[in-house]
Structure formats: structure tokens, C-alpha cells
Symmetry: C5
Subunit: 305 residues, 5 copies
Amino acid sequence: MTHRAALDSLGLDTGKRARLHRILYRHGLCNGTALFLPYDQGLEHGPRDFFANPAASDPRYILDLAVEGAFNGVVLQIGLAEKYYADYADEVPLVLKLNGKTDIPYDGDALSPVHASVADAVRLGADAVGYTMYVGTPAQEADFAAYRTIREDARRYGMPLVVWAYPRGSAIEAKGGKETFYAVDYAARTASELGADVVKVNFPHPEKHSGVKHPYDEEFGSQQAIDAVVRSANRTLLLVSGGEKAGDEAMLEKARESMDAGATGLIWGRNVWQRSRTESLRFVERIQEILTKYPSASHTPGTRG
Amino acid sequence: MTHRAALDSLGLDTGKRARLHRILYRHGLCNGTALFLPYDQGLEHGPRDFFANPAASDPRYILDLAVEGAFNGVVLQIGLAEKYYADYADEVPLVLKLNGKTDIPYDGDALSPVHASVADAVRLGADAVGYTMYVGTPAQEADFAAYRTIREDARRYGMPLVVWAYPRGSAIEAKGGKETFYAVDYAARTASELGADVVKVNFPHPEKHSGVKHPYDEEFGSQQAIDAVVRSANRTLLLVSGGEKAGDEAMLEKARESMDAGATGLIWGRNVWQRSRTESLRFVERIQEILTKYPSASHTPGTRG
Amino acid sequence: MTHRAALDSLGLDTGKRARLHRILYRHGLCNGTALFLPYDQGLEHGPRDFFANPAASDPRYILDLAVEGAFNGVVLQIGLAEKYYADYADEVPLVLKLNGKTDIPYDGDALSPVHASVADAVRLGADAVGYTMYVGTPAQEADFAAYRTIREDARRYGMPLVVWAYPRGSAIEAKGGKETFYAVDYAARTASELGADVVKVNFPHPEKHSGVKHPYDEEFGSQQAIDAVVRSANRTLLLVSGGEKAGDEAMLEKARESMDAGATGLIWGRNVWQRSRTESLRFVERIQEILTKYPSASHTPGTRG
Amino acid sequence: MTHRAALDSLGLDTGKRARLHRILYRHGLCNGTALFLPYDQGLEHGPRDFFANPAASDPRYILDLAVEGAFNGVVLQIGLAEKYYADYADEVPLVLKLNGKTDIPYDGDALSPVHASVADAVRLGADAVGYTMYVGTPAQEADFAAYRTIREDARRYGMPLVVWAYPRGSAIEAKGGKETFYAVDYAARTASELGADVVKVNFPHPEKHSGVKHPYDEEFGSQQAIDAVVRSANRTLLLVSGGEKAGDEAMLEKARESMDAGATGLIWGRNVWQRSRTESLRFVERIQEILTKYPSASHTPGTRG
Amino acid sequence: MTHRAALDSLGLDTGKRARLHRILYRHGLCNGTALFLPYDQGLEHGPRDFFANPAASDPRYILDLAVEGAFNGVVLQIGLAEKYYADYADEVPLVLKLNGKTDIPYDGDALSPVHASVADAVRLGADAVGYTMYVGTPAQEADFAAYRTIREDARRYGMPLVVWAYPRGSAIEAKGGKETFYAVDYAARTASELGADVVKVNFPHPEKHSGVKHPYDEEFGSQQAIDAVVRSANRTLLLVSGGEKAGDEAMLEKARESMDAGATGLIWGRNVWQRSRTESLRFVERIQEILTKYPSASHTPGTRG
């Protein structure tokens, strides 16, 4: 049994708790852990991500994979959700991503524009919404302002809010880049301070510390780093993202360290679907073998009956 | 019979489906293909486009042509729609273009300002609205924000939303320009991810690949390219635009390749009306000869009766 | 009889038609032509314009002149309209100018800020509103956005919308300046495409063509140019402005050419009131001698009774 | 008797007229002239203005002075009005200043941000509101937009609107600076054109004319200049501000010239309270000796009874 | 007994007075002084502030400390307040901080974006809200605009408004920096002029006066400086912040000088919790020994019964 906080101790309103319970205890391993399949790369990077496995260009392929692989949720932008999710409704929870951007223009003052609403998510039967916050961006004011509206709407509708807390922009580059322990730790904390229910972060790289603020310029191991990041997120559930496709063993090791630290789960896209369907499912199985070792109860012992 | 998806399989709400059905099965060839006549060049380029055929400066000339040529729709800005469409109402569907701009100021951070509303389109009896999205523009935030409002209004009114998905701006120029396979493919996907019902793209030029992202820097044929673009658009109907007047045979060849790829149709302006009326109609006939070979049913077999 | 379109063929809603009819057939020569007296120079240029004839600094002087000279309308900003128009109400129609600016700051990205509303115009008994659109300005987005609100309000209130279509800004300067045939023609068309009821343009200078786009770099006579501009405006009534005070004969020749081309009338300020009252009235008489030769009916023959 | 227009001839709505009547005929000399005490320097310049007379740092000191000196009004920002005016309510009229700024950041594109509303003024029992317009600032659009809202609210609530018409910003600096006859004259006219009820200007300096527009580069005396400025303001009541503390005799001479020109009164702060209380009151007496010579009736003869 | 004004003489509406009374007379020493524990450093500086005492990373640790140390209030951002305050509700008053930012991007045109509302504070049972105003920032317009909304909402809900009046940005740096007597004095006055109920300032450093405006370039002692700052704040209650951890004796000396000057209290975070819990509580005791010497009555003598 993990040291993750029970769902009933996070200060969640009823609707958020119901939907998170559905995601964590009615889908996937039903043990309080989560494995999400993000599919917003078509917008974020363009169709070039699909050349490795052209079948993955078709949203039906991805939704089939999510159902068969027993994912806890699939992440879609509004267009694909409206056109494809109906045929998979309730078979796998939908996380509607509310903002996004192409990677074409200059990213130094990154901002992810909102193009859908929490109300859209309600209408489509989603169980959570996603918002990308570019922590440290020079466009911080616009980012926080857009986020605030989403946070308020999410509360009104009882919709769990998953924050992609991504260090980004010229100032982050000048302070060691987006992957440092410094940047990831700060990003997790920012999401927590601003009221995210779930935060998605990249796995921190404590060995990259040129330009970071003290004391992040000292030596830390990766377990120490992810432990601290989970602590910074405190009562905000934490998901670790996969990023670009990397070696399987390294990825699985990160998964183990993340879960040891108290993460709730993983959100891996390209590492999953940039290979054949059979291989994808086999890899998912290996991930789930790990997650299965980190169950958590949805209620604090003694709080019911 | 083409491999285009039937109208009933695109996740469309009732009003959008009714209007798209009217456009595709009550006008033009009534076979599920479409040929549109865009007439926004007076704003986008100025009256200089009319010197080749001064009669085309008069909106009545264009509307007559649209009716006589059996087009599936004519595209007008609000001013001309209010002043001229009444006399042609219901004879040819109206696509009201909701944004537009002059080509005078610097285009590096292109944005097409909204100057009319979906409600205007409803009031004028239009069967669709058009929105130009400059994919990759540094003004992406403002573009997505304006688009979002249009998308939401279009849903509320059941009005099909045609997105002119045009790669544009300094960042696109730095990555090979607006005509590359990379740019067109990304644009089509972006429109689809963001919820367009129909997307209008330029025909891709895979041979222009200096500066594009991998794997678009490899060799692709034009059929391969347009196939991929249609796939990227998935359940978003795709129209191929004509651009500047070019040689007829080359244009018709592009039309064939587009329809082979699964496009729904064409949207050609200057190539049609920058010649005499008789020649225009003769050219339209040749286009329709092609379109007639790509019929599609409006319903998936077995879904009714 | 001119070839101007009758008021009933312009696609106007009832209120707009009533007010334009009042301006064109109840005031001035009552023959469908119009002569307007603009008095916004105190804001646009400052009081320096009044030193040539200090009496003109007093709005009462101008309003007296408008009534005695039988103008079809006087153009005022909100402040002067509120303070002075009551004593002249219904004696001369009021065109309330809704935006304006000082000429002090840098004009390269010109924008004319809105400072009054169509509702203000209704309250003050105005018969039209005026909006300055700086065609080609780098601030095009803000301009179109402000314009859109005015256009929508004008429709709601049945208030005719007169657009000052002025090419302006750094990009226009780089393409030959604000007086070229290219710029004026594009400006007239832009106003028409965006839904102006009346457009005010400067008389085009086809001989200034360094930097303009093709084919405006060819040779055109002034009559050819103004003919084309009126054609570009199509069903938008066209007024030709006077600009800085110039020689009377040259001005009157321009008036004749404009009316020959199908313009509805003239809007001349400084050329009228930057001289003594007696001289002003004498000059107005000469203008009206011209206008009297270009009557037009308010109804298309056979449409009534 | 002065040649100032009577209050009933200014086109004022009832509430504005009632409040201006209270200020001009129920307070001060009750003769249609006005002497205002502005106290916004703590925000505009910071507490450094109070070192010359530390007692003036306390708002109570200023309010006592306003009552004892029989001022026609005291000008406060929202914070001090809320905290101090209650104890002096109705003893001296309150002009609530609705915008203001610190003088710390760069002033080249000056804008005075609104931080209170006309509704705040109504709630606090104010008899007028004040708005600083930086005439000629590159931030003209934002300035006019903010002003417009205030103007509309002032009309809705019948609250007189006093415009601080201050030439400011880099473009004014390039054209001779903020004190030239050119700049002050333009500022007065701008306020009038945009609908101010009262305008506050600096006394013009016609001798500073390097960089100004023609014909302001010619020779004018100070009486000529202030005469012209009052004429430019026309039916907008004009107040002359004091600016930095200067010699008493020079100040009083300016007061005389202003009143001769037709100004309604003066608005002097630092010249009054940057000296001891006794001296302040003695100086006020000297000002009032001047004002007493310029009475005006509130009604045009023959309009009542 | 101190010379601080009684709560009933500050012009406060009922709700604000009730809540400030609760903070000042129902918590802490219950003698009209205040000691606040700010805990927004996780957002403002990131988790690096917690490495000195990792336990402080956990909000529960801080809330326990606030209760045990008998603080008058704890300051939290919305995320931590929603997730942790319920278990401590009414045991220590909550000041909900409504804006905040990371310290990653360039700070030259500092602005602290609003991400929560006064309504959030009401919902969470807070007794005050906090707003950071960056006095002198080039982003002054946006700052004042955001502040204005908060001020109006605070009035509507009767919620005391605590303004973090922080000189910040490139212009302040050019005028001696954020710690000068000049900057702190101006900041206190600005908060007061704009309607803050409570203002939080840094202790002024009169010895740093290179670049400041006259007369701040003269010699002042620290007591003189804090006296003036409290005078500039006038009826706005003043709290002195602690800033970075410094020597205890120096801090306590500042506390004494502040209270002597008429400050209401202190708001110290890192100086308190960047040490062990035992040491923290011992240090708090020493602070309270000082505060206990500066009681003030909540009512002006004779105003009740």
C-alpha cells in the first residue's frame, strides 16, 4: 500500500470526487492508480508524429487502443472528441484538453490558447479537463488569467482539473531549461498553489543543473528529485508524462521511481502508440505490472460505516 | 464510389447536417461533391484582381455565374451578402465569410479579424460560415480565441463551419513557406483537432521541402501528399482551393488527385472568373466532369429504413 | 439623370432607408445628391485650422452656415453635438462622428478610437453615424473589431453608417501613399465588402503610382480612376471629400468628375469654411449648380403604385 | 459682469446642472466663479510634495483648509475620499478623481489608469468627477476608450465631468512640450469635442514655440493665448491649474488674465498648501479678490418667470 | 497606549470592520496588534525556500504553527486554502491572497496576475484578501485595473483588503531600488490613495538614497523614515514585512521601530518558519513581547454607551 493520500482527504467538492473516483476506481486497474493516453500531438507537433505508425493518425485506432489497453482515460482536443468519442463513450473516460497550440511560432513567450470550455467537457461526458500552464513563461499574466476562468468553471461543474505544468519559455531556458529538477519542482508547486486537482509533470533531471537556482545546483538523485516534486504537489495528484519516445527499460524505471515517490500514475502517449498495436499492448501490460504494486484506498480508514 | 465518409458518420449535430446536406445533395451535382465560388478577393487583395475581367467587379456577375454554373455555394463577406444576396437567395447556397483583411499591412504575424457573426449568417439565410485560421502565425492566441467564439456560435446555431486553414506568418516562412506538404498537412490537422466541419487547404507541394520538419524533408509524390492531408483532416470534409490563376490542365489534374484522395470538393475563384463568362462556364463544366466521378451517399448503408 | 442606383435597390433596412431618404430628398437640393459639412477638424487637427477664419472656431457659426447653405448634413463629434445641435435640430441633419483622434502621436499604425456610440446618435436625433476606418493600417485588427460593433449597432438602430475609408499607416506609405488610385480604390472596396452604407473617399490621384501594386502602376486618367472607385464601392453610396483647401476651379472639376462617375455627393469642410461667410456661401452655390445636374430618383421606376 | 455663458445655455442635463449650480452658486463666492483645491499629489508625485509643509500630508489638514478657505471644491482620490470626506460632507463639494498614476514609470506613452467609478462618486456624495486625459499621448486609444466609459456613466448619473486636459507624452515633447500655446489650445479643444463639462488646462506659454505647428510659431501675448484657449473650449467651462509652486504675483496675474478671457475659475494645489496655514488663507483671500470681479448669472436673462 | 487610530475612525463599512475586529481583537494578542504568517513563497519563489526546513513544504506544518503561535492570520493562495484550510477553519483567520506569480520571467515590468476572487475568499471563510500592487511598475495600467476590480468586490462583500505595496520594476531600479525610503513611502501612500484597508510594506532603508527623488536624498534615520511611512499611510493600517531571513536582533529592532511609528503589526514568513519549529515558536514569543506593548482600543473613547 502506497503513502498516497486517499481521495476523501484532498478537499474535493462532490462532483470532482465522483469523477476522479470513476477514473481511478472504475477504470484501468481500479486500484487508485492511473494510466492515461494523451492524443493531442496532432495539434501540438503536427501529423509528423504519426509517420512512425501511420495507423495512429486515425483517432479510432487510438480509442480502440485505450479501451483494449484498459487505460484510465484518453486525452483529446475538442474536434476529435466531438467527431469520435461518441462511439467509445463510457468505455474509457475522456479528458478534454481545453487549450493547445501548434509548435510553429516562436516559443520564447509560450502561451497555450484556450479553445474549448469546461461546458464543452460536460456536454461531451468527459470526466476531467486538461489545461496546459507554461510555468515561467513571460506570458504568465495571460496564462494565469485564462487558467483562472477554467479553474472557476471546473469548480462550478464539479469537473476535475488536470494541469499540464510545463516549464517553458525564454526565462526557463536561461535558468537551465524545462527538464531540470528546479523547473519541474517549481511547476508542480505552482499548479498546487493555484488549485489544480491533478498535475502532470515531466520526470525531473537533477543532473541538469547549469543555470538553476540554489539549492538545485547541488547533487540530487532522480529518486530524491521525484520525491521532492511529489511533496511540492502535496494534495494535488501527480501524473508523470512520457515525453518523446525513449528506451522501454529507462521509461519503466522512471515509472517505478515515480510511483515510489507517491505519484498517482502516468500519462504516456508517443512511448505507447509510436509502435505497432501488439507491441503497444505488450508495453502497456508491463506498465500495469508496476502500477498494480501501488494501490491506494479511496477512503481514509474509518470514515465510512 | 469514393471512400469519403457519409455525412451521418461525422458526429454532426442536426442543424449542421441539414445545411451540409442541402449544400452537397440539393445543389451542384447533388452527389456529395462540392464546387464553391469564393468572392472575397475584393477585400483580401483589393480591386486589382478584377482588372483581368472588369465585369467580375460587380457581385451580380459573380452571383449569376454561381447560379448558372450550378455551384454548391458562393462565398461572400457581410457587405456584399447584405447588398446582393437577396436577389439570389436559395438559388445558390451562401457561405458567409466572417473574417478577412486587406493585404496591405505586414503579414508576418498574420491575423484575419472577425467582422461578422454567425448570427449574421443565420439572418441572411446562409448555409455555412467561413473562418480563416492562419496556422502557425505568431498571433496564434488571438486567432484561436476568435475562432473559439465562432465555433461555439456555429454549434449553437447548427451552422456548418468551414475553416480556411492557411499556414501563414514569419515562422511558417522560416520553415519552408505556406505551400509545403509539412505546412498544409499540419494546417489540415489543426482545423480537425479544433473542430472544423469543413477545411479548405491549398494543394500541398511536397517538392518544396527546404526548412520543413522531418520527415517532410523526404521525397513524396503529390498524390501521396494529398492522401496524407485528407487523412490528417479525418472526419473533417476537405476542400482544395485554387489560389492564383494557373494553367487549366494542371489545375484539373490537381482536382483529380484531390478527389482520388477523398476530398469533398474544390473552392476555386480566380481560376474561374478571371476569364470571360463563356470560358468560365466551359471550365466549370470540365471540373464537374471530374466531380461527377466521385459521388458519395449521404447515409451509411443500412442506417435508415 | 445619373446612373446612380435608386435608394430602394441597395438592400437597406427600413430605418436606414428612412434616414437616408430624409438626408437626400428632404434636405439640400432634395434631388438625391448630397453636400455635407464636416466639422471634426478641431479634434483631428486642432484649433490651428481655425486661424484662417477665427469665426469658424465657434460651432454656431458652422451650424448657421450649414442651415443657410442648405447642406444635407453637418458632421460633429459628440461634445459639440451635445452642446450645440439642439438649437439647430431638424434644420440640418446631424451625422454624429463616433471615432476620431488628435494628429499628435505617430500615425504609422493609425487607429481612430471610438468615443461615442450609435445610441448616442439616436438620442441626439442624428440621421447617420460616421466611422473612420484606416484601410491598410497595421492596427487593422483593432480597427475592424471596433467597426464591427458600430456596424451591428447601426443595423439594430436603423442608422445609416458612413465610413471614412482612409488609407493610412506605414504600409500604405510604403506602397505609394494615401492618395494613389490603388489606395483609394482598395479603400472604397473595403468599406463596401464590410457593409458600409455610405463611403467617403479622397479623390484618387492615378498619376501618383510609384510603389503601388500592379496594374495601378499603369497610366489612368482621373475620370477613369474615379469611375473605377465608384464601381468598387458598388451599392455603397460614395462621397468625395475635399481635404486641405485648394483652388476652387480644381475642386469644382473634381466634383464634376465625381458626379459623372456616379458619386452621390461631396463632403467638404475646410474648402468651404476657411474663407469668409459670404465667400463660403457663394462657393456652396457653385457646388450646388453642379449637383443639380445629377438628380436621381429614390425609387426604381414601377416599384410603387 | 463677464462674458461667460450662463449655466442654462450649455446643453447640460438636469443632474449635471444641479450639481454644477451647487458648486458655483452655493459654495465659494457663490457668484459663478470657482476655486478648487486639488489633493491628488500624494499619488501623482508621492509624499515628497508634503515635505515643504508636513502638515499637508494629513488629509484632514487639507479638508479643514478647503472649508475655512471657502473653496468651491476639493479633489480627492477614492481612498482618501472614503476615509476622510464623511466628516466634511456637504461643507465643501467633493470632486472625486477617477484616474491617476504614480510618476515613477516612463511617461512617454502616458496613460492615467482608471481606479474608481462614477458610481463611487455618487455613493460618496461627490458633486463632480475628474478624469485626466493625456492629449497627444501614444496611448490615445486606451485613453479615449477609458474616457468614453466615464463620459457615458457621468451622463447616466447626471454627474459633471471635469477633464484634466494635459498634453503629455513623447510626441508632445517632440512638438514643443506640454506648456506651449499649441498644446494647451489643442487640449482644451479636444476635451470640448469629446464632451467634457469642465476642462482643466495649464496656462499657455505662447513664447515657447520651438517645434509647434503653424501658426503657433508666430508671436502671441499671454492674454491672446488664454483668450484663444477659452474660445477653443467654447461651452466647456474652463479652469486654469496652478502647477508647481511659483511666485505669488505672477500667479495672480495669470488668474486675472484667465478670468478676463472667460475662464470659470482656478484649481490650485501646491501654490496654496505648500506654505503655512495662515499664509495659505491669506493667499486664498487674494485670489478671491480677483474672482469676485468676474461674477456671472446662472440663468440667461428672461428665461425664468 | 499607542497613537494608532481606533478601528471605528477609519471610515470602514460594517463587514470590513467586523472582520478586522475579529483579526485584531479575537486572535493573537487580542490587543489591536497583528502578527501574520505569510505562506505564498511556494508560488513567489518556488520550493527552494523550503530546503532550509523541509517540513515547511507541508501546508499542515505552517497551519499548525499559525495556530500554536497564536498568529492573527495566515496567508494562503487559493490552492492551498482549498486543500488545507478546512481542518483549521476559524482557529486562525485566513487571508486569501488573490494574485501572485513565479519569479522566473523578467521582472522589469512586474505584474502580479489575479488568479482568485473575493468571492472565493467569502466561500472559504477568509477574513481578508491580499493583493500585490507593484508600485511604479511600467505595467501600472494593468495593475490598477486589476486592483480596482478587487477593491470594488472587497467593498461589496465587506472583506478587508490588504495591499502588498511593493515598489518594483525597471523604473524603480533606476530610482534607487525597491528598499529606499523614497520607494517605500510612495508605495504606502499609493495604497492609501487607492483605498487599501491595510498596507504591507518593507521596512524603509533611508541610507540607500542614490537615485531617489529629492528630498529623499537627504539624511534620515530609520525611525524618521518609518514614522513618515506610517504617516503617508494615514488611516490605512500598516504591516511591516520581514523579507529574506535576517538576524533576529535586527529584525526585532525593526519591529520595535515600526510599532513605535504607529504600525499595526508585522507579517513575517521566512524569518519565522525557516528554522525548526521550536525555534520558530520561541522567536514568535519574542515578537509578541514587543507587540504586547502597543495595544490600542477598537473604539474611540466615548463612542459607545
